[in-house]
Symmetry: C2
Subunit: 224 residues, 2 copies
DNA sequence: CACAACATCTTTACGCTGGAAAGATTCCAT
DNA sequence: ATGGAATCTTTCCAGCGTAAAGATGTTGTG
């Protein structure tokens, strides 16, 4: 089944598409045994090739991890698109759906997610990684801008973006690390991480219908 | 039974207080060269001892990293206490001060902060680490509970805690990783990460008594 | 003071890792 | 078909964590 596509950059020979096989094997290793277990040699063993074969395709370990992180970012981007398409055009719902997609991705692929933010083991200069990161970042920024509309100030616009990203990212990281176990245990019966996230959104009003009224109300409440 | 003198720790034998010397050297390595550079052998070289000496004090690498993370948590806890003591008894200000202390700690000790949340390289069963983590967590919970008062529901109470923690943690992680550089560059002249954090607090109304409008902010500040 | 038990550090050794270098195999263009 | 290039293997080296045994200074006990 070796069909040839003119612009196809992958020529199959011995193993046939070893590069993609390595990426797939790398992902299962990272999800099942964690990032430290993802070594060039372990990967080569899993793929049934010599330990030097991965280095040929990815240069070194940083190259492999960067390439794997890139597939993570593109997958996250498509997940963003799907989640937003599923809730219609309302900017509020779209932004909230994206936040849920962010956390959902982290829960579905914790190892990959952690790798995507392990800066010291990635090389952002790699074209694939940079492009994938830019795409994901652009999707996030667009959704935030669409919801914010015309902000009162540049500071507020930036703050809203930073707030939403910080919130969903922090929630994802803490949840994956099991740091929220205590809080989850304190939840009423039947509530899980997903409903907690919704409640977090409601409390922060970052991804909920907003207006200056609420802020004024809060300020007034503090006075009393 | 071992007496301990803070000013003159030269009480032990060969090297004298090698354990603390190792912890100090480990911190400088982690801050200057990152977590991957913190190896038992590099640490031994930095301390001028044989490469097996650290293993005797910490068991293995996980033990060393756990012990170092523990000093990070205790330092964070004292930073919490100092920051809250500096702003008086108002629960709002205290909570906000704690959030700022959280991010400030991450900025001051990025390597240590990252290590503290590198679950796969830590052993939470270590008494020192567990105790230090519990202390920091208790401080955080107390400050949140003091501000929340009597919440409308258990879900909301948990959500407020999760929201604040997620927000400051996510902000810290993204800031340290340089992921907020783009947003920081979009800030008005003279604004830095600190003012962005304040704006984030204002937007999320999790730890801020005021909205983004200066009038509202001033009004609320006068009330307090 | 003598001496044994102990804690601390060093030496040695083993298997694992990433990476470089060179050889072998297969594909592709000509 | 043939030369060149891409792909994979083999070999080798230094660094790593860790275990075990040896060396050295400290400390408790008579």
């Amino acid at each position: 089944m070796s069909h040839r596509r003119p612009p196809a950059p992958r020529r199959t020979y011995h193993h046939g598409d070893l590069r993609n096989a390595l990426l797939a094997a790398a992902e299962t290793i990272v999800e099942r045994e964690g990032i430290p277990a993802l070594t060039l040699r372990a990967l080569a063993r899993a793929a049934g090739v010599s330990h030097a074969a991965p280095a040929h395709h990815f240069g070194d370990l940083v190259g492999l991890l960067s390439e794997l992180a890139a597939v993570g970012y593109t997958r996250l981007t498509t997940r963003f698109a799907e989640a937003m398409a599923a809730v219609g055009p309302a900017p509020d719902r779209r932004l909230r759906a994206m936040g849920q997609a962010y956390v959902g991705f982290a829960r579905a692929h914790p190892g990959l997610f952690q790798l995507m933010f392990r800066a010291e083991r990635l090389d952002p200069a790699r074209p694939a990684l940079r492009a994938a990161m830019d795409a994901a970042g652009a999707a996030l920024r667009n959704a935030i801008a669409a919801r914010t509309g015309t902000p009162a100030s540049a500071l507020q616009a930036v703050a809203q973006a930073a707030a939403l990203w910080s919130l969903v990212h922090g929630f994802s990281v803490l949840l994956i690390d099991g740091r929220l176990r205590g809080l989850l245990a304190a939840l009423p019966e039947g509530e899980d991480a997903e409903t907690l996230l919704e409640a977090v959104f409601a409390v922060t009003d970052v991804a909920a219908p907003a207006g200056p009224d609420r802020e004024v109300f809060v300020a007034a409440a503090e006075c009393a």
